[in-house]
């Protein structure tokens, strides 16, 4: 063999390896990217014989790979195991990447997911029924730590309502009107209780503050107004038949009211294309006086306003929903944020231990304040946030732990939260959703938006919406 041929034989595989990225990876490298493009953090601090806990998540952890590694270290130290944290930012379509990982056969011990996806995973037997373990558990079986209503919400995702397939990650909170309370005070307005009173508030904002009264993100956040006619978001079931209240004649007055807001320039006309981030920005910058968002965001908006150049007088406050003639109101709670254990998880016992630990005080501190030394310090029993901790606003996946025994160590940074949480608890309910909801919701939004924009009369919109839902078999009556 000629010398040149020999060189070619030797160099080709090496070159190919280099091009295809098959170079040998040093064993001590701890941050990498998996097939789904998710960042992985491997904790190697524990002894080699310790088991490995693999967690796929989209909300817990820090904001950088280094913080995620410290976060995984903290879990590993508490549970005496190695922790592999597969961290997919929610902006990178977590659900899609989770499906890719599970479908590709990747073994994961704990997956973060939400109620709608959990319903589909449980339906297909892809996650473990944890009911008996939860009942036996001293932590999760304690109603002070996880109240019964939370288990009931999680059970909405179980096949035929039987079994418990997940454990809550955090108190999910509810969507409620959040108003510029400083404007309300300045204009001498009192808390609105009916749709007419809400209308008057918006009109005042428009006249006196030169701002839109209300902004929305399509029909995502109209529940506090549908509350005036007692309609729930999602599905309701009557005698085994499913229907969508927003697609019934009872919703017509609310669509008509929203159209009136739009036609009179009180509703932000960008509402069809708005993301919730757009809504927050408009609210913080004073372009709108009210939007509908999570209770936990009331203090966060107040804190953000002070650091991000909003008006000095800025004061966000939650409002109760518009009340119906019977004096009752409704706000929808968020889709449950949960941890589940895949049916093929290699370390189910360790995974369940993690789910318990997450709901103990050390787990709650990690999920809210973050990692000691990075996000906060403790001196003489007093907690102090670091600059990283202040930036991250006490949100590391569990900003408001579900336990009734939890007390936030920084009450001054919780302005407006107690009132907002009370509204969520008083008027909140968990919407019933199923595997068809994503498609059904698009139909509801399409015709609802057309009604608000005035392209269809509210009556026409509801009739066409109902017909389209029936045609695609998303409702049974």
């Amino acid at each position: 063999m000629k010398k040149s041929q020999l060189i070619a034989l030797v160099s080709t595989p090496a070159l190919a390896g280099l091009i295809l990225g098959c170079a040998t990876v040093p064993h001590n490298v701890s941050a990498s990217t998996n097939s789904a493009g998710a960042a992985e953090v491997n904790v190697k601090s524990a002894a080699a014989t310790e088991p490995t806990l693999t967690i796929a998540e989209g909300v817990i952890g820090g904001k950088t790979p280094q913080e995620n590694q410290a976060f995984a270290n903290a879990i590993g130290a508490a549970l005496h195991c190695k922790v592999k944290l597969i961290s997919v930012p929610s902006t990178d379509n977590y659900d899609q990447q989770l499906m890719t990982m599970l479908g590709a056969g990747q073994k994961i011990d704990v997956v973060y997911t939400e109620g709608s996806t959990l319903a589909e995973l449980a339906q297909k037997g892809e996650v473990t029924n944890l009911q008996s373990e939860i009942e036996k558990s001293k932590v999760l079986g304690n109603p002070k730590v996880v109240p019964q209503w939370e288990w009931n919400n999680i059970k909405l995702s179980s096949p035929n309502g039987k079994g418990i397939y997940a454990v809550p990650v955090k108190y999910q909170g509810a969507l409620m009107p959040i108003v510029r309370q400083d404007w309300m005070k300045q204009l001498g307005l009192s808390q609105p209780k009916t749709l007419n009173q809400y209308y008057n508030v918006f009109e005042e904002f428009k006249k006196k503050e030169n701002a839109y009264g209300l902004t929305l993100s399509s029909l995502y956040d109209i529940e506090p107004f549908m509350s005036a006619v007692g309609l729930k978001n999602g599905y309701v079931e009557h005698n085994g038949k499913l229907t969508i209240p927003y697609a019934t004649n009872a919703a017509v007055p609310v669509y008509a009211w929203l159209h009136k807001l739009y036609a009179n320039g009180l509703l932000d006309p960008n509402f069809v294309t708005n993301s919730t981030a757009d809504e927050r920005n408009e609210f913080l910058s004073g372009r709108v006086g009210m939007f509908v968002y999570w209770d936990a965001w009331v203090p966060m908006l107040n804190n953000l306003a002070s650091t991000q150049g909003a008006a000095a007088s800025f004061d966000a406050e939650a409002l109760p929903p518009a009340l119906g003639p019977n004096g009752k109101g409704l706000v929808s709670k968020g889709d449950t944020s949960v941890f589940a254990i895949p049916s093929n998880a290699p370390n189910k016992a360790l995974a369940f231990k993690f789910l318990e630990w997450w709901n103990t005080k050390p787990g709650e501190i990690l999920g809210s304040l973050g990692v000691k030394g990075i996000d906060y310090t403790v001196s003489n029993g007093k907690y102090k946030l670091t600059s990283t901790g202040i930036d991250e606003n006490m949100d590391h996946g569990d900003p408001e732990p579900i336990s009734s025994e939890w007390k936030n160590p920084f009450p001054s940074l919780q302005k407006g939260y107690a009132n907002a949480r009370a509204i969520g608890i008083k008027y909140g309910y968990q919407p019933l959703i199923n595997a068809n909801w994503n498609n059904a919701e698009q139909i509801v939004w399409q015709y609802g938006d057309d009604a608000i924009l005035g392209r269809l009369t509210p009556q026409q919109a509801v009739e066409e919406m109902h017909a389209a839902l029936l045609k695609d078999k998303y409702i049974s009556q």
């Binding site: 294309t273 939004w445 399409q446 938006d449």
Partner: protein, 311 residues
């Protein structure tokens, strides 16, 4: 008087392979075949294996974990009997053909116009400016246009307001939004195709223009009879590449769609996405993806036969 000559055919030597030639040639070529291995491995692992695997999945009741029973052609039947699939197919054709037509003509017109610009700095500046959008991802471009076209605070509506036009709901009127999608798509890629055509114009033999001028041709005649025929090959290649992408429109729609306009702008690839990742109906999503592959193949073969770009 003419003389004739008998021409004898040359006796050519018969090329006979010497004994042992084939093994020697094989031995000599071995390193070359070996060098092909990475490419073959790449194609097998990253193209053909996933394709075969997709065919298998399309015939399964696919669960992420656990059993995946074989269901034959049921997923294909479900796709072909789904009115949403055919609705999205119609949208794909409307959007695809419009983008293809306008996107084919626009860069030629711009390239020909730029070719007439004498100031090099102006020509280069325009080229750079119209090429820039091609470098941005659809997330940026889609978000940018949604903001620009917003009824409140959007630049376009602000300009219209100066002329007394009331705000237009560009992105929530299905018919208008369809045109926005088409024109934004053309706007994003026009610069790239324009550069290909400009490169094609540079490659045209200058002596053809000189001859035409000697024969008294004006600029229009030069363009009509030299430049455009000279660009025919480039047009064929650009046309073929564009046609191959018609059924694969996705990113732009995914970023720019909303509930109101979805029935008019959802395309085949968003159908695949919605079935697969929203409904977790992986078997049906894979079946629809393979049908799109077949449609694209048919379209490509048809176009290739029609334009014969490589002859």
């Amino acid at each position: 008087m003419s003389t004739s000559e008998v021409v004898q055919p040359h006796r050519t030597k018969t090329l006979r392979r010497p004994v042992g030639y084939a093994p020697r040639r094989w031995k000599r070529a071995l390193p070359l075949y070996f060098m092909l291995l990475p490419t073959l491995a790449y194609l097998m692992v990253l193209t053909y294996y996933p394709l075969v695997h997709a065919v298998v999945i399309s015939m399964q009741d696919f669960n992420l974990i656990g059993n995946r029973p074989f269901v034959g052609l049921k997923n294909y039947e479900n796709v072909l009997s789904d009115p949403n699939f055919w609705g999205d197919f119609r949208n794909t054709l409307v959007l695809g053909v419009s983008i293809l037509t306008i996107g084919f003509v626009a860069p030629i017109v711009i390239a020909l116009s730029l070719n007439e610009v004498l100031q090099t700095w102006l020509k280069r500046s325009v080229q750079m400016v119209i090429y820039l959008p091609h470098l941005f991802s659809w997330v940026v471009v889609g978000g940018l246009w949604i903001q620009l076209l917003a009824p409140a605070g959007g630049l376009v509506n602000a300009v219209l307001a100066v002329f007394g036009v009331s705000p237009v709901q560009f992105m929530s009127d299905p018919q208008v939004a369809r045109w926005v999608i088409i024109l934004v798509s053309v706007w994003k890629d026009v610069g790239f195709n324009c550069i290909i055509y400009l490169a094609g114009i540079v490659g045209i033999n200058p002596s053809l223009y000189e001859s035409a001028r000697v024969d008294g041709a004006n600029r229009w005649q030069e363009m009509r009879h030299i430049t455009l025929p000279g660009l025919a090959r480039t047009m064929q290649v650009v046309g073929l590449l564009s046609i191959m992408g018609v059924l694969r429109i996705f990113d732009q729609i995914f970023v720019m769609r909303n509930a109101v306009i979805e029935p008019k702008v959802n395309v085949l690839m968003t159908y695949v996405y919605d079935e697969g990742f929203q409904q977790m109906n992986i078997g049906q999503a894979t079946a629809s993806a393979l049908l799109i592959l077949v449609f694209t193949l048919v379209l490509t073969i048809f176009t290739r036969r029609l334009i014969r770009y490589d002859t």
